[in-house]
Every structure is written in C-alpha cells, then in structure tokens.
C-alpha cells in the first residue's frame, strides 16, 4: 500500500510539467495553421480597420510567446477563452460536450473489452476450436473496417429496415427533456433524477454508436490478448506449470494474469485515442461531443476550443495512465519497488 502511495506521489509531481509541455506544443502547432481568426470572424467584406481593431481586442497583435503567456494566466483563473463560433466560453461548451463523448467512448470501450478479451483468451486456449477460428477471422476484419462505414451499415439495418432504434440524431429524443445536469452523463443524471423516460431514450440512442465502437475496437484488444496469451503460454513458467501437472485451466488462468499488463495498456491507449478518434462516429450520429467540437475548431481557426479539448484530453489521458500504472503495481510485484 505504501508502495502505491509513494508511487502516486511521484507521478502527481510530474503532472503539471507534463500538462505545460502538452499545452506549449499544441499552442504553437495550432497557431501555425494558416488562417486569421479575425478575418474569419468578420467575414470577407470587413474593412482593414475593423480587422486590426478586432486583432488588438483578441490580443492577436502580440508576439506568440506573449499570447501563450496570456492564455496561461487566463487558464489559471479558470478561463479557457471563448469560441467565436459558439460565442460561448470554451469551458462551458466542454463541460457539456466532454461528458457526451466520454459516456459514448467509455461504453464503447467496455463493449470492446467484453468482446475482445474473452475471444482472445478462448482462441489462445484452443486455437483450432470454433472460438479460435472466429477470433482469427474477427481480428482480421475488425482491423480493416472503417468505423463510420460500420456505423452507417448498422443505422441502415437497425433504424431504416428493422426500426428498433431511434433516428441517429443526438443523445435524446427531441420530445424528451434532458434531466438536470449533474455529471453530464445522461445515464447517470437520468437515474439520479429518477427520470426513466430519459434513461430509456438515452440508452436506445447509445445502442448503435456504442455497438460501432465496440465492434471496431474489440479488434486490437482481441489481437493483443491473443498474442500476449500465446507468448505467456509458450513461456518457461507456463511450461513448468504443465510439467508440474497443473490443470490446463489453471495454466491458462495464470497466463491471463501475466498478460493483463499488456491488455490494460492497449485498453488505456485506446481510451485516450478514442476521445478524438470517435469523431467520425460522433458526426454520423450527430452526437454533439467534444471530438466534433474540436474538429470544427481546427477547421475554422477557432483556437480556444481546440486548446481546451487538448487540455481536457491530456488531463483525462494522464488520469487513465495513472490508473494503469497503479494497476501494474498491483499486478506485478517487480514494479515500483
């Protein structure tokens, strides 16, 4: 336990410099995208004077390092800037949109784990069995399918033909009032409010996008599970367990335990990646999530939403990696001593 705490302390120390580095790099990268926000905001007909005064107002006339400094100072005061597209503070936008993405991605990833890990274990357990073959074919196809295409197919089948899910337009039916926002996660908020109609609507809207993400992302999880399990089952200690007459099930169980660090790693990488990587699925389902928000920002030189998204994602990823590190320490006695 003390081991984990001292480990955590060390890691937390590094979070602030890590975030600073990430913001620094993204700030200068985004600034290097061509396009003048003042011109974009005022439109092509604006006078030069208007543009100049807007640039001054936005602080765009300062040198880049100074602009970055201003950004940091505002950040410390909880101000992430304003999006000129939505004309709302970025923080407000993100607090609303980030949970939407997080809810989608988390459930999608859970589904992917539920599909990928058992299939991977089963195929390592019995390569030539039915499950092993299914896993082999699945691993190949899942890697080659584009997610938005799969989403469209699912919409076609389940909405257009079978009509068992609602239209792919957002997180709730138009007729249903969203529950009061507590966490931003609709499932949680509607349960907290006891609003079962909202819960039902939220769940049915989640079905297809979650299924899409699950089916696509089960691929890498399955492959990682399979190959790590294979490696573990070939390793000296597994062979020794077989030589010692331990039952096959127990040997596989131990191999799975030894494979967990790799499986947890691929899951955590996918988690961080999907925050932005699920954007095509978000667009197909008009999800209104953070990924969509950030992409709009990039396309329109709207820098603050992008930086805000980067900041949120970075913090989130760092938290995920921290949890992963704790899991490593908990699983493997050789780490962190």
């Amino acid at each position: 336990m003390t081991r984990i705490i001292s480990f955590l302390g060390q890691r937390l120390l590094f979070i602030v410099p890590q975030l600073f580095g990430i913001l620094l790099v993204s700030f200068f990268l985004i600034k290097s995208i061509p396009g003048d926000p003042a011109v974009l905001m005022l439109g092509p007909m604006a006078s030069t004077d208007a543009v100049v005064s807007l640039r001054t107002k936005l602080g765009l006339d300062h040198a880049l390092p100074i602009q970055f400094w201003h950004f940091l100072v505002n950040l410390v005061h909880g101000d992430l800037g304003t999006s000129w597209q939505t004309t709302r503070p970025v923080l407000e936008d993100l607090l609303q949109r980030f949970p939407a993405t997080l809810e989608l991605v988390t459930l999608g990833l859970l589904g992917a784990i539920i599909i990928g890990v058992p299939l991977g274990v089963a195929s390592a357990f019995d390569e030539k069995g039915i499950l092993g073959r299914v896993a082999g074919v699945y691993g190949l196809t899942a890697g080659s399918l584009p997610d938005f295409w799969l989403a469209l197919v699912l919409i076609f089948v389940f909405y257009t033909i079978l009509q068992i899910v609602p239209a792919p337009l957002g997180r709730l039916d138009f007729a249903i009032l969203p529950p009061p926002t507590i966490s931003g996660f609709l499932i949680f908020d509607s349960i907290a409010a006891g609003d079962w109609a909202a819960l039902g609507s939220a769940l049915t809207h989640l079905c297809l996008p979650v299924l899409t993400l699950s089916l696509i992302n089960a691929g890498p999880i399955l492959k990682m599970t399979q190959s790590t399990m294979d490696r573990m089952l070939q390793s000296d200690f597994s062979r020794y367990e077989v030589l010692s007459g331990l039952p096959h099930r127990m040997v596989v169980r131990h191999a799975l335990r030894n494979s967990l660090p790799s499986i947890v790693t691929i899951i955590s990488v996918l988690y961080g990646y999907l925050l932005g990587g699920a954007v095509l699925v978000e667009i197909v389902f008009s999800w209104g999530g953070a990924g969509q928000y950030a992409v709009q920002g990039v396309l329109n030189s709207d820098i603050y939403p992008v930086l805000g998204f980067v900041l949120f994602s970075a913090i989130f990823s760092l938290i995920v990696y921290l949890i992963v590190d704790i899991v490593y320490v908990a699983i493997d006695p050789r780490i962190g001593r």
Partner: protein, 338 residues
C-alpha cells in the same frame, strides 16, 4: 545382440520389483525446414531401478533436456516423440490420456528444472506455487496445501520459511529458487524424479549442499531419480549408476565404481580427461573439434570424427550398446580394456 532392456531384465529378475522407469527405443525428433528432421534422441533404451539415483552425463547439445522432458511427454518445442515406449511402473506414458498424464506429472513423476528463476511464475508467491501443486495432486484444501508447502520449505532448509512463503521468485537468490523447485518436485513424494542440470548455475558450496539435501530427501521418500548433468564429477559422488549420452545415444553405462575405475568408451575417457585438467591425458584423448558442417553417415559411429581410436570399421558399422562386462555397457567396437 541383446537389447539393453532384456539384459537388465535378466540380471534384475532375482529382485521382485520391476524398474521404476523403463525407456524402450525412445526416438525424439525436431522438424527441420529441410524436411529431414533432426534426431535429438535416437532409439534410446534406459532403465531406472527402484530407489536408485541414475546419473546421466553429456555435453550441452547431447539431448539431455530433450530426453528429460520427453519422459513427461512434453519435449521442448517443436520436438516430437517419434517412437518408443516409456514404461513407468509398467504403464506406458505414451498411452495415457491427457487427464491421466496431467495427474501423473508432478505427482508420480516430477521434474527439477534448471534456471528456476525463469521457470517460476514471476507474479505468484512461491508459497502459492508450491501449494498449487499440492492442492491439485493431493486433493487437499487450500489451508492444508499451505501447511504442506510450509513443511516442505522446512524440509528443503529454506531459512525463515514462514516469511519465504510470501516471497516472489525475483526476491530469491539462485540457490534459494533452486530449493523452491526441489520443494515443488518433492511435495507429492513422487516415485520418480527427473533432475535436469538442476545445480549447474550455482556456486560449488551451494551446489554441494543442495545435492546432499536432494539425495537425502529422495532416499527418505524412496524416490528413484534420473540425475542429468553436464558435470561428470558430480555423478562420482552422487549417483549409483552412471551413463554417458552423446548425440542422443548412450555411449557407456555402468555402476559407479566400474564407470570411474574402468571406463571403456573413448568418449567417456575424453570427458574424464577434460574434467581432471590433466594436460597429457587430454592431449592423448582429444582430437581437434571436427569442422562445424562435418557430419558422419548414419551407419557410422557418431563419435568417429572425434575419436582418437577410430578405425575403418567405425566409419561403416554403427556400434550398438553391448555388455562388455557384467552390468557394464558400451557402444564401441574397440572398448578400452585393462
């Protein structure tokens, strides 16, 4: 020409017991890309009598590990047992079902492995790993299994056994880990123990302690043992009978006294010369290593290229293992007699 197994059968007929382990015509192959498999163990006969410690000596690459693991029907990947019988207490290991095989391994026949630190599971405490084997094979509760594990840790003289129960393999020294593996091998009091190069990684004093311990524990339990080593010196102190393996075949086999006082096979003598650091003996019995690619024909003695006594006959007629004196076997046309 009598097969070794028939011979020993005849001499051992007086005692009622059948041998603990009787290997008949074992052949183990490794598939090769060229299509012609590498034969790692060739038509090998060997009997290990009840309660005896049988020493098997060979250079690295002789096929020791392949033989040891094949006895449990698990040759190193991608090896394959191509033929032969493995009679354990009269029952052919080759005919067991998977479940019977699993019950036999670790309970009736156990194996002491080299490099125990990589063979133990890095994520489980050694106490758990010992208890697992006890629980599976002796069908006792988890509690009892832990109790047995603690007992066996005491028996292998691990200092502070209670604390060691919760230690992980990486926290142990090589000698300590070796004792753990011995504990696992002995916990079910097996009838037969195969020890593969078990003490080679240890320094000499630790090695001597562990060998002494191993001998006593095996004797207490009445276990027979096949003790495989690269070190011919160890067998002189430790084993009742000794055999030399070369290229997957037995070159010479004899009781300890005969073996060390009247070695007959040129290869055995070369091994002893090398071991004794006697320069003139060495010069006499060694020949320059054959070129790496050089291979003898299947119908020649496998040792011809290195043998100082090799003659024309050795190159065309592969010698079989034959009895040159009571209980003393050599596979050589011109065994050295004095």
């Amino acid at each position: 020409m009598l097969k070794l197994s028939d011979r020993v059968q005849a001499t051992a007929a007086s005692s009622d017991a059948r041998p603990t382990f009787d290997i008949r015509g074992l052949t183990v192959e490794f598939p090769a890309i060229t299509g012609v498999p590498t034969v790692a163990i060739r038509n090998l006969d060997l009997r290990i009598e009840r309660g005896e410690i049988f020493g098997l000596v060979g250079e690295s690459g002789a096929g020791k590990t392949t033989l040891a693991r094949s006895l449990l029907r698990l040759p190193p990947e991608p090896g394959r047992i191509a033929g032969g019988e493995l009679l354990f207490e009269g029952q052919d290991i080759m005919s067991l079902t998977e479940v019977e095989l699993q019950r036999t391994r670790g309970r009736d026949i156990s194996m002491i492995v080299p490099n125990p630190r990589s063979e133990l599971n890095p994520l489980l405490t050694v106490g758990e790993q010992i208890a697992n084997v006890a629980q599976v094979h002796l069908r006792v509760s988890r509690r009892e299994a832990r109790g047995l594990a603690l007992d066996i840790l005491r028996a292998v003289q691990i200092p502070d056994p209670e604390r060691r129960m919760t230690a992980f393999p990486h926290e142990m020294s090589g000698g300590m880990a070796q004792r753990i593996v011995i504990a696992i091998a002995l916990i079910c009091s097996p009838k037969f123990i195969v020890s593969d190069d078990a003490t080679s990684g240890l320094d000499v004093t630790v090695q001597a302690q562990i060998l002494e311990l191993l001998r006593r524990l095996a004797q207490d339990r009445g276990s027979a043992m096949l003790f495989i080593t690269r070190d011919i010196g160890i067998t002189a102190h430790f084993c009742d009978r000794v055999a030399v393996i070369y290229n997957g075949e037995i070159m010479e086999l004899a009781g300890r006294e005969d073996f060390f006082f009247r070695p007959a096979h040129p290869y055995t003598i070369m091994l002893m010369a090398a071991f004794s650091y006697n320069q003139s003996l060495r010069r006499l019995w060694a020949r320059p290593e054959p070129l790496p690619g050089a291979k003898v024909h299947d119908s020649a003695c496998p040792y011809t290229l290195r043998c100082p006594l090799a003659q024309e006959r050795c190159r065309i007629d592969r010698p079989a293992l034959r009895e040159i004196a009571p209980g003393h076997y050599a596979s050589c046309h011109f065994p050295v007699r004095r």
